[in-house]
Amino acid sequence: MNIVVCVKQTPDTAATVTVEGGQVSWGDSPLVLNPWDEYAVEQALRTKEAHGGHVTAISLGPESAKDALKQALAMGCDEAILISDPALAAADSLATAQVLASAVRKLDPPDLIFFGKASVDSASGLTFAQTARVLGRPLLSQVAAVNLVDPDGGSISVERLLPEGREVVEAGLPAVVSVTKEINEPRYPSFMGIRKASKAEIPTWDIGALGMDSAPKAKVAWPEIFAIALESTSCEMIEGETPDAMAAKLADRLLEEKVL
């Protein structure tokens, strides 16, 4: 099977994020493979292990995003491609989807395209649905389990984790699958994997290499980003001789302050 996994490089979730001159800064915190995308990479690798094939990781981002792709390679992806072009710096989710779709069309036609459920930085959670729509392929989002992949019959059956329950859905291949955290436990890169990834040459495709005349124009812009000051609440400590007394006092205070 040909499998593509789309990933993004993000700051670590523990990073202290600030805004300096309208630019987001995360200080010395490392940039990592978007934590949600680890589940997508893992699922791509498991699919390959079950059915054979080739896993290509692709990412849109600056040159530094090669580090995230190297992590995907270290986990076991066969190939990685960076899409990078200064003209894409302001890409919104639609432009990103259009670019990813163009990259997918250049590859050997994939049977499955995996995404994580969102990025932990901009957290739009839109790109996978838009990529599926641009490609005209069925979307399976919020996937918490893959029940069956049938490469010969060209079908996939998954369980989607929704607020109202687990929905069992079938689709024909090729399909776009975005996965949630419940689907698997991502592996740690092996020592051999890390060595292999460190030597890997990751090609960079620009707009021209994608066969696009110009970068797709973003339909939204975000000229203003600001930090929200944490409201400095003064915490009222509830004291009491016994837990019962503390509980009674807390209950009274919640009612007095009309919280309940």
């Binding site: 700051p11 979730t13 523990a14 202290t16 994020v17 987001v24 989710s93 639609l94 989807a97 932990v120 930085d121 901009s122 957290a123 739009s124 959670g125 839109l126 649905a129 838009q130 599926a132 729509r133 641009v134 392929r137 069925p138 979307l139 399976l140 059956s157 607020p163 109202e164 329950g165 687990r166 929905e167 069992v168 859905v169 689709a171 955290k181 419940e182 339909k219 939204v220 812009a221 975000w222 203003e224 600001f226 930090a227 929200i228 944490l230 609440t233 915490c235 009222e236 509830i238 837990p243 503390m246 509980a247 009674a248 807390l250 209950a251 205070r253 919640l254 302050e257 919280v259 309940l260």
Partner: protein, 343 residues
């Protein structure tokens, strides 16, 4: 600047979540400021009542389109049914859900336009609509506007906008829609255990690793594996969390540490890699308050922290703090609130 606003009514098989009406409320507020018209639209099967409800909430016009292929929500079919109906809109509002993210994303492709998800505030400055959304797990706010494209599609975070009172009435308008054949098939829905949805809940009670720390519990004698005993203890702790949530009509949340330790399913996780909640009251029991957890609940109106460690970061965000073991304080707190609230 006058603009035409359309509100899409999100639903599952004709049943709308509370947030669907919050989107109508946001639409009414936008019309007040923006001028123009406010239309509601819903597609599905058996959705006329939803359109009528939108009219009762005060929209100018409510359209509904029905087709048996729209019985189950499939984003492709819903997008195809809707894309031809939004031609004169400047703004389309959706309540945010797993459905509308897929739907709005696909509609933006069909209409070659911009989409913004998880928006918590709308404002008009110099005739331009700005949609604010939290990024970096709520550490920052990004203000987004459309660039030479319309309509701007916006999904609104649950509980960020007020729902209107329904008092009027009117006759919704049936429209013809063509959803095409959905490319995916729903085989079955295994319903979840029920309970209150985390993102819609006015009260959330969450447990952390501290749920497994009650030393006075004696595990069943045939239980010898240490991990089994730890999880058994945590289940007893989460029972107390559940009891309190039940008295308050609230939902049960959890920290990532509790989810990763196997104490409770991931669907309960609150935080950067879980759900973002914004209830009136958030009670954190046995949660120290890692930055990733705070990201998921910091916009709660009132936070109560219960922790044995007085230096736990969660107290910095809390309005009320109790330095106490959760298993000692939760049962009397549940009882005290039960008496006072008569629930």
């Amino acid at each position: 600047m006058a603009g035409n606003t359309v509100v899409y009514i999100d639903h599952v098989q004709g049943k709308a979540p509370p947030a669907a009406w919050e989107a109508v409320g946001a639409g009414l507020a936008l019309k007040d400021e923006f001028g123009g018209s406010l239309k509601a639209i819903v597609v599905g099967q058996g959705v006329e009542a939803l359109a009528a409800q939108a009219l009762a909430c005060g929209v100018d016009e409510a359209l509904f389109g029905e087709d048996e292929r729209l019985m189950d929500f499939r984003p492709e079919a819903y997008a195809s049914a809707l894309s031809g109906q939004l031609g004169d809109a400047d703004v389309v509002l959706f309540s945010d859900s797993v459905r509308t993210r897929d739907l709005a994303g696909m509609l933006a492709v069909d209409l070659d336009t911009g989409v913004v998800s998880d928006v918590t505030a709308l404002e008009i400055t110099a005739g331009q609509l700005f949609a604010s959304r939290p990024i970096y797990a709520g550490k920052l706010i990004s203000k987004v506007h459309a660039v030479d494209a319309r309509p701007l599609l916006i999904t609104l975070r649950s509980r960020a906008f007020g729902a209107p009172a329904a008092s009027g009435s009117g006759q919704p308008t049936r429209i013809d829609v063509d959803p095409g054949d959905p490319p995916t098939r729903v085989i079955e829905l295994k319903p979840s255990e029920g309970g209150v949805s985390l993102s819609d809940a006015a009260v959330v009670v969450s447990g952390g690793r501290g749920t497994s720390n009650n030393p006075s519990l004696v595990p069943p004698s045939d239980m010898t594996d240490e991990k089994d005993i730890e999880i058994w203890r945590a289940h007893q702790g989460f029972k107390l969390v559940q009891d309190l949530a039940a008295v308050l009509g609230g939902a049960v949340g959890a920290s990532r540490a509790a989810v990763d330790a196997g104490y409770i399913p991931y669907s309960h996780q609150v935080g950067q890699t879980g759900k973002v909640v914004s209830p009136d009251l958030y009670i954190a029991a046995g949660i120290s308050g890692a930055i990733q957890h705070l990201a998921g609940m910091r916009t709660a109106k009132t936070i109560v922290a219960i922790n044995t460690d007085p230096d736990a970061p969660i107290f910095k965000l809390a309005r009320f703090g109790v330095v106490q073991d959760l298993y000692k304080i939760l049962p009397p707190l549940t009882e005290a609130l039960r008496q006072r609230l008569g629930t």
